[in-house]
């Protein structure tokens, strides 16, 4: 799907911005249940993924992992997405103490410029988290603010 790589694009942009010295940046290709392995033993994790939530393409949102888990359905072998993997991680007691989930809306209206702006917005949000201005990553536990508030 067009824009399914927005999470990867954001990670690439973070790397380009030199944030691989601040955090371990991983590209995960449809990890399914293997996401549990990556969460195991971690205290602070930011997950970045493309999403389809009915927002304007390019919108960047912080998602509650608890809400995602509620939306999980019994997985099939081929259909074990982020919500199901997080539900499995919770059942196995390996949800990190500080877990941020950042979604970037994709969809048919995602043109090149919108995509660039969305990735820039996501990078700003993640930079703020990493610099200690977001819950669990520093002294400021204020809720994340997003530079783009499209689709509200």
């Amino acid at each position: 799907m067009t824009g399914d790589d927005l999470g990867w694009a954001a990670i690439a942009a973070l790397k380009e911005a030199g944030l691989d010295h601040v955090a371990e940046l991983l590209f995960l290709d449809r990890p399914g249940p293997a996401l549990v392995d990556h969460l195991q033993g971690r205290d602070r994790v930011i997950l970045i993924d493309a999403m389809q939530a009915g927002l304007v393409p390019g919108s960047v949102r912080a998602l509650s992992h608890e809400e995602l888990i509620v939306s999980a359905h019994p997985p099939s072998s081929h259909d074990l997405g982020l919500a199901e993997a997080l539900a499995l991680a919770r059942a196995l007691d390996c949800i990190p103490a500080h877990l941020h989930v950042i979604g970037i809306e994709t969809g048919p209206g995602l043109d090149g410029e919108t995509r660039s702006v969305a990735i820039r917005d996501a990078v700003q949000v993640i930079q703020a988290i990493l610099s200690g201005n977001r819950s669990g990553f520093g002294p400021d536990d204020a809720a994340p603010r997003f530079p783009s508030q499209r689709g509200r």
């Binding site: 293997a34 549990v36 019994p74 099939s76 072998s77 074990l80 059942a91």
Partner: protein, 432 residues
């Protein structure tokens, strides 16, 4: 509850299987009158998509048929394309393809046993619900599944829709250091694989012996993954290209997937069929672990499929260790390919069973026609037959919820992939 009452069961959504389908059942006087595994997922037309494509595109296209068994589709297609071009892959390439295929069996079987099948046998709604009570079992499944994906990634660059294969071999040989690391991880996983055989054999599985025909590949010396002749336990013994002489695909009104029959009769492909026909080809350690369970083969109990999958996990971990121990990179990792017109056939054992391909190519190496027969299509008639016998043996006096759960358990036991066959299951129950 009387079993003579009139029953109509429809399961509109079957969980823990892949794809979109439904189960419809009606019974009267203690007998099942109609039973349909209704598959309504739209056809995916992969065979038509392939027409006119260059041979270089085929492996990338067929990998998209399935996110769980893309390697099976690639392996089968590459065999057929090489036969069409008169290419003989090197012994090194054949060994490496077998090694890569071990990864796919490992990840697919580990996921099915631990997250899809075990909840049925341990009494949970899902693998997620089961994980809180049986975390070690689920963790074992995740470890084995990850290891299988790592092995696919070693050759294919990624575990979903890998890109490392090409006609004639591989684009490059895996890095020896990564192979050595994986060898150590495989050795460390061996106790998990051994334990799993005993664990699945200790499950309280339903006893329901049925008469069915097992079909699989059979290799002259190896447990069949990548190659062999097509055999059955009723005396069939065919070269791969002779498959259409005995196996027929047909449409039925209630399914968008084709049904396949062997000389007009349903048949079984998959782990239990393979084990029934090839247990003498297991490596000595896998054979010893199987013998220790006391399982008598051939088995007529479809619920022994979960044990068969565990045995096959043990076998592929052992096989991967053997192949990785002797691993040396070869460059180039492929033999030269001269494109020309021709027809080729391929057959391998996907995790879910026999997978058969046929391609006709023109002088430029473009696909004129393609035929792909996936395992789930071949098992559909057997699943319907099994459902009828299983539910009657289970007892139609049971209430609707119990009948529905048993029906879903029977279907999940095949690990069907309706997406491959076309997706899966919705069940509705009605009593008259």
């Amino acid at each position: 509850m009387s079993e003579n009452r009139e029953i109509r069961i429809e399961v509109p959504v079957l969980a823990r299987v892949e794809g979109e389908g439904a189960l419809e059942l009606s019974a009267s006087g203690g007998q099942i009158e109609t039973l349909r595994l209704r598959i309504f997922e739209p056809p995916r037309y992969f065979e038509k998509f392939l027409e006119g494509r260059g041979h270089q595109e085929v492996l990338d296209v067929v990998a998209r048929i399935c996110g769980i068994c893309p390697v099976a589709y690639q392996m089968t297609a590459v065999q057929a394309l090489e036969q069409a071009f008169g290419v003989q892959a090197s012994p090194w390439v054949i060994r490496m393809r077998r090694l890569m295929y071990c990864g796919e069996w490992l990840q697919s079987h580990a996921l099915h046993i631990h997250l899809l099948a075990l909840p049925d046998f341990l009494g949970f709604e899902s693998g997620i619900a089961m994980a809180a009570r049986h975390p070690e079992a689920v963790r074992r499944g995740l470890r084995l599944q990850r290891l299988g994906n790592d092995l696919i990634r070693l050759f294919g660059g990624r575990s979903v829709h890998p890109v490392g294969m090409r006609v004639g071999g591989f684009h490059r040989a895996p890095d020896p250091e990564r192979a050595a690391t994986l060898l150590e991880e495989m050795r460390a996983a061996l106790p998990d694989a051994e334990d799993l055989v005993a664990f699945t054999a200790s499950l309280d599985l339903p006893q329901d012996d049925q008469d069915f025909t097992s079909v699989s590949l059979r290799h002259e010396s190896e447990y069949p993954l990548y190659s062999g002749r097509i055999v059955s336990d009723r005396g069939l013994d065919l070269a791969v290209e002779d498959y259409p002489k005995h196996f027929q695909e047909s449409h039925v009104a209630h399914s968008t997937a084709l049904y396949a029959h062997l000389d007009g009769e349903p048949y079984l492909v998959g782990p239990l069929a393979r084990l029934n026909l090839n247990h003498d080809r297991l490596s000595p350690p896998a054979r010893a672990a199987l013998d220790a369970t006391g399982l008598q083969l051939p088995s007529r109990n479809m619920f022994h499929s979960v044990i068969a999958r565990a045995v096959e996990i043990h076998e592929v971990v052992l096989e991967a260790i053997r192949l990785l121990e002797s691993y040396r990179p070869e460059e180039p990792a492929h033999v030269p390919v001269t494109v020309g017109a021709g027809t080729g056939f391929g057959a391998t054992e996907a995790p879910r069973g026999l997978l058969w391909h046929r391609y006709e190519l023109d002088a430029a190496g473009k696909v004129r026609s393609a035929q792909i027969v996936p395992p789930t299509s071949q098992n559909q008639a057997r699943i319907e037959d099994d459902l009828k016998r299983s539910l009657e043996a289970f007892g139609l006096h049971n209430d609707d919820d119990a009948l529905r759960l048993r029906g879903e358990t029977v279907i999940r036991n095949y690990d069907p992939c309706i997406s491959c066959a076309t997706h899966f299951l919705k069940v509705r129950i009605q009593r008259r």
